[in-house]
């Protein structure tokens, strides 16, 4: 079974470019301010979620192993 991820969005940085949602649409959505939010941390495969985080133009997304706290991105 895939490991659980902890995904956080930095609202001091997120500009609502929505690329995360384009890359991992089952994981990320847009809130009422049109900034990114995590709707389901297990919505997509891990590599898809990492790819989405990498494609954030302002590196607003952090992905960790929920159990160990290991930072997977950035």
């Amino acid at each position: 079974m895939a490991r659980q991820l902890k995904i956080t969005v930095d609202y001091n940085v997120c500009v609502g470019n929505a690329m995360c949602e384009t890359f991992a649409e089952n994981t990320f959505g847009l809130n009422e301010d049109r900034q990114s939010y995590v709707k389901d941390a297990a919505g997509d495969p891990e590599e898809t979620i990492i790819e989405a985080a990498e494609n954030c133009p302002v590196t607003a997304i952090t992905v960790e192993d929920a159990e160990t706290g290991e930072i997977l991105f950035p």
Binding site: R34, N55, C56, P57, V58
Partner: protein, 419 residues
């Protein structure tokens, strides 16, 4: 309400005292209708962000959707050229809507087009260019150090971004001066003169003629360069050949015109704020990232961008009508005291710094990562090399190009003292 204050974005005041000009508008009426140019002016942060985050209401597809004659007006004889310019504009990916927000789109949309290039510009992939930027700056600053002075515009701000974007695209080094001249004439788009369409279309035509063969070559035989990345969009049926040419042209011009302003305006700010220069110098490596963000906020390279309303909407109590033109002013929003403490202070340690120098939302600047990288390396290297930067002329003699869209100095003579 009759305008009792100057609201002319082409006025000398707007060019030379922009922050007084925009502050007055922002305080008086942050969403304001300019009767002369028939355009809504958005000058505060909150409404700018709302406009940019609601592309279904305020479309970027300005040239395709705008059926009214251009304003500022152009010579009547130039209407045919204007239609050519429109066609050129419409083929640029930034002028496209996203299907998610504008459901009538068939075929490729903004996000399909952006994704052709987006991966190239992620923060991670941009890092591979840092060594080239560093070595190019070293070469340029060696000369400056020897001379003890520079025109920041001619000796640093112009050559660096042009070299970097030309190398990325795969354009031969020897062609850079002609690229610069042709790209600079694209600025006529941002001017008021009724005769502006002639020189604008001439430079578009010349750039198309120059870039066309480079693109054709890469469509057939891709190389390891950015033109090939865009050309891949043609192989995948997202762009046609002319769209590849026009989007390469966009990357070329956007890739250096704006960064030139970041380097000049930021360096000017440091000459005017010796305390902030000292702060940067205390730890150039550690402080250059936030300092660059503050340079982007304090005297933003891009002043304004236009949208077109897709529906009637109330914004801050103003009735905006479908098809109205709406222009948002970065230079107003980035000094908004509701968002930034001591908004008119240049504070290189400012954090958080939610400036909108690159816009916001789905059209947030594709090249932001590149501009940041170049700005960070410039300010870090200046601080490492030089004890002081001193403006050689009185501030009030500095000249700006009279554009509505860009905050562009003509030149910036600075004396340097070696560390």
């Amino acid at each position: 309400m009759v305008s009792t204050i100057n609201d002319n974005p082409f006025s000398l005041e707007a060019m030379y005292q922009p922050y007084e000009f925009f502050a007055r508008l922002r305080e008086w009426e942050p969403v304001h209708y300019n009767e002369e140019y028939e355009v809504w002016m958005v000058t505060d942060w909150e409404h700018l962000v709302w406009v940019t985050r609601h592309p279904e209401v305020f479309s970027s597809s300005v040239f395709a959707r705008d059926v009214r004659p251009p304003n500022p007006p152009i010579d009547e004889d130039d209407m045919e050229i204007y239609n050519y310019i429109k066609k050129w504009q419409v083929s640029r990916f930034i002028q496209h809507d996203q299907r998610r927000y504008n459901t009538e789109i068939s075929g490729p949309d903004h996000v399909d087009m952006r994704r052709v290039m987006h991966g190239y510009f992620t923060p991670k992939s941009m890092e591979m260019w840092r060594p080239l930027v560093q070595s190019a700056i070293d070469e340029l600053l060696d000369v400056v150090q020897e001379k003890g002075r520079m025109d920041v515009m001619a000796d640093l701000a112009t050559p660096l971004p042009l070299l970097v974007i030309a190398r990325m695209l795969g354009i031969p080094d020897s062609d850079r001066p002609i690229m610069r001249r042709l790209a600079k004439d694209l600025r006529h788009l941002n001017r008021t003169g009724p005769d502006r369409m002639g020189p604008l279309s001439e430079s578009v035509q010349n750039l198309q003629d120059y870039l066309g063969p480079l693109v054709d070559e890469r469509i057939d035989n891709p190389r390891d360069d950015l033109i090939s990345v865009v050309a891949e969009g043609a192989r995948r049926g997202i762009f046609d050949r002319d769209m590849v040419v026009n989007n390469v042209m966009l990357l070329l011009s956007a890739g250096h015109e704006t960064t030139i302003n970041l380097i000049c305006n930021g360096t000017l700010a440091f000459t005017q704020h010796p305390d902030q220069w000292a702060t940067l110098k205390s730890d150039p490596e550690g402080k250059t990232v936030r300092a660059t963000e503050e340079a982007l906020r304090y005297d933003s390279p891009v002043k304004s961008i236009q949208r077109i309303a897709m529906e009637d909407i109330d914004l801050n109590g103003q009735q905006i009508r479908k098809n109205d033109r709406v222009r948002w002013f970065i230079s107003g929003a980035n000094r908004d005291p509701k968002v930034f403490d001591r908004a008119d202070d240049f504070d290189v340690e400012r954090y958080p710094n939610m400036h909108v120098a690159f816009g916001s939302g789905i059209h947030h600047c594709l090249g932001a990562t590149l501009a940041r990288l170049e700005g960070q390396e410039i300010f870090r290297n200046l601080a490492n090399r030089f004890e002081s930067l001193e403006l050689e002329v009185p501030t009030e003699t500095l000249e700006y190009d009279q554009l509505i869209g860009l905050r562009a100095l003509e030149s910036l003579p600075v004396k340097v003292t070696n560390a």
